[in-house]
Amino acid sequence: MSALALEAARFGRYLLDGVEPAPAAVARYVDLIEHDARPVTAADASLLRFARTRPWSIGPIDAALALSAPYAEVRRRLHLMFAILESTPEHHDRFLPERRGTRYLGVVLAAGGRAVARAAIGIPLVRFLRQ
């Protein structure tokens, strides 16, 4: 598996909360990034490498960048993968709104708590990796 395919698979699994992304979505991501001539800074490349090789770090890095550099390259690629997954029929059930009862508020609050925890881990991590 190429580095980009590995990146796509790991970004996809992260965005889908552990579900394996469809092979077509991975291929689409690889194709789009390969044909993207945008330059990547050394700091962004280092963050991307770290996130790609240590999947546990993707959430914390994403959360930290959402606060400090929301339009950084890692976030741009995650956002691209998000759009690809959203337009892949195999994953429609992860994106289309569903009827949720009041108990679902617990899931939403848990997601909020997880976002805070990820940011708490990610802020020092990103600071360290960008040094």
């Binding site: 992260y14 965005l15 909360d17 077509a24 689409r28 789009l32 044909h35 959430g59 994403d62 959360a63 959402a66 606060l67 929301p70 339009y71 976030r75 741009r76 995650l78 956002h79 691209l80 998000f82 759009a83 690809i84 959203e86 337009s87 892949t88 029929p89 429609h92 992860r94 994106f95 289309l96 709104p97 569903e98 009827r99 949720r100 009862g101 679902y104 899931v107 939403v108 997601a111 909020g112 997880r114 976002a115 990820r118 940011a119």
Partner: protein
């Protein structure tokens, strides 16, 4: 040298399409010059299915939902046109290259597409009040007939409700209104409960009249509620200017010449010479006509007229509505399933009439959010994208977007002029200075707060206010204002450019005041009147 054609219309947008139709009806042979970019990539790929079925089942959906090069995925600060979907992105093609505009204070949205800005028009057909028409320099009696003529031609669905005086005015022959989706339905129920109090505060809510068929017509089908309105013009239910131009071309009533960027004109003995640039080859082209009707939008027409008649120091005024969009949340609809069938266009309009005189009226168009998808909104949450997906997916069914426009009475602080630009194929660029005074900004903010309070009282809570800055409204006018006396860079009441015999302007360039209501319907009505005058001179 060939004989001049009877009439040249420049531009295929809403005003050009209507003007050409009126000229043809009057027996005039029309040539339309236009750049005319089209979507040649996606239109055929979009199935005639509803958005939800496509999302669940269509394997090729990524092509038109995000684009072959992911051109529909815009990442970064909120940008002009970022909601434009891949099948509509030809609306912006070549604009920076062919018609550059440089300004620190004004960021407009222009088009060289086949159908102009009408490609992405929201279809709202609000009539200006008599007070608004008079302030704009338009004749209310003539415009009333013109509104009816255009309404009959394009087909308008709507209803005479509480806000009829602000929406459909005197229009007859309306098709039945569209079915409302649940967000708009809930808001309307909130309005009905608080109607008396809101009306005391100057607010009125009503159905938006739309150029959208709810009954079949020859060649066009009634709207099918597929919620694919940001991607396709299926069944031609929504009126688009290219539909009208196609019809005229099919009937051999109009000769269409694409790939032509009209640069300037000059009057000769008995005809007008029109200089254009072939956008493919860069070669200069010359066309000749007995009459010229400019319909390139207020900015495009200003470029042509300034090059043709202005001196280097010439400046023209500019009108543009102050605009903000305000995402709101209806808590009662959070956590609801995806909605189908559904309509993507605005269904309700909220008006604030400061003194009940129908002159100083601000207007908000309301939209629910579904087919533009989650990826466009998750990036705005200050949290990681995985958790933003959970949160936004849950909230999405409760989102209601308010696009708030405020009237522009004009000011000397808002001007346009031509400057040199060696990189531009025309050797120049439009430059603009656009500023609201401190008093105007305060008044705009005060009114925004009133709208937010009114929405709250109807059960929709504002989450934030996004001000895209001047130009973001995509409503431009007033660059060649109507003037009764002969004066340079102005129009007479028939739309003729002062100082010319045979050159008319059929877009909103003549308006001296820009009401907050979307101007497209009024621009089309005015185009019909101008074309009638031009036909009379042919």
């Amino acid at each position: 040298m060939t004989d001049p054609v009877e009439c040249i219309v420049v531009g295929s947008g809403c005003s050009g399409a209507i003007a050409a139709g009126t000229l043809v009806d009057a027996g005039v042979r029309v040539t339309m010059l236009d750049v005319g970019h089209r979507d040649e990539r996606y239109a055929r790929a979009i199935p005639a299915r509803d958005f939800v079925s496509i999302r669940r089942e269509e394997s090729g959906q990524h092509r038109y939902l995000i684009g072959d090069e992911a051109e529909g995925v815009v990442f970064g600060e909120i940008a002009e046109g970022e909601h434009i979907t891949p099948p509509r992105r030809h609306i912006m093609r070549d604009v920076d290259r062919l018609i550059p505009l440089a300004s620190e204070t004004f960021r407009p949205f222009e088009s060289l597409g086949y159908g102009g800005l009408g490609i992405g028009w929201g279809l709202g057909c609000w009539e200006y009040s008599h007070a608004e028409l008079r302030a704009a320099g338009l004749d209310p009696a003539a415009m009333r007939d013109a509104y009816q003529h255009v309404g009959d031609r394009i087909g308008i669905s709507g209803v005479r409700d509480d806000a009829a005086a602000y929406t459909v005015g005197d229009l007859r022959n309306l098709e039945p209104p569209t079915q409302m989706d649940r967000n708009h339905g809930l808001l309307l129920r909130g309005y009905e409960r608080r109607r008396a109090a809101l009306r005391r505060r100057g607010f009125v809510l009503g159905r938006a009249p739309l150029a959208l068929l709810t009954e079949d017509r020859p060649g066009r089908g009634r709207y099918a509620y597929r919620d694919m309105d940001f991607y396709s013009d299926a069944d031609r239910s929504a009126w688009r200017p290219w539909i009208a131009v196609d019809e005229l071309r099919e009937g051999n009533a109009l000769r269409y010449v694409g790939g032509q960027l009209v640069c300037r004109f000059s009057e000769r003995d008995g005809y007008v010479e029109v200089r254009a640039l072939d956008v493919e080859t860069g070669a200069a082209r010359t066309h000749r006509a007995r009459r010229l009707v400019l319909a390139s939008s207020a900015l495009g027409t200003a470029r042509i007229v300034l090059r043709s008649l202005g001196d280097r120091a010439a400046q023209v005024p500019l009108l543009c509505n102050a605009y903000a969009y305000i995402p709101c949340l209806q808590p009662g609809l959070v956590g609801h399933e995806v909605e189908a069938p559904k309509l993507g266009f605005s269904q309700l309009s909220l008006f604030h009439d400061a003194d009940g005189a129908h002159r100083d009226v601000a207007m908000a168009s309301l939209y629910s959010y579904q087919s533009l998808m989650l990826f466009r909104i998750v990036k705005q949450a200050p949290i990681d994208l995985a958790d933003a997906r959970v949160l936004m997916r849950w909230l999405m069914s409760g989102f209601l977007l308010m696009g708030l426009h405020q009237p522009d009475p004009g000011s000397a602080a808002r001007r346009l002029w031509l400057g040199p630009d060696r990189t531009s194929p025309t050797g120049d660029r439009l430059e603009a200075r656009f500023a609201f005074s401190a008093d105007e900004r305060r008044a705009h903010q005060r009114r925004r707060r009133r709208f937010i309070a009114a929405m709250r009282s109807m059960g929709a809570y504002a989450l934030r206010t996004v001000d895209p800055g001047p130009g973001g409204s995509i409503h431009y006018a007033g660059t060649l204002p109507f003037a009764d006396r002969e004066q340079p860079l102005a129009l007479d009441r028939t739309g003729r450019v002062h100082g010319t015999e045979r050159v008319f302007v059929a877009d909103g360039s003549g308006f001296r005041y820009l009401p907050a209501k979307g101007l497209t319907f009024s621009v089309m009505a005015n185009a019909h009147l101008v074309a009638r005058h031009a036909a009379g001179r042919s």
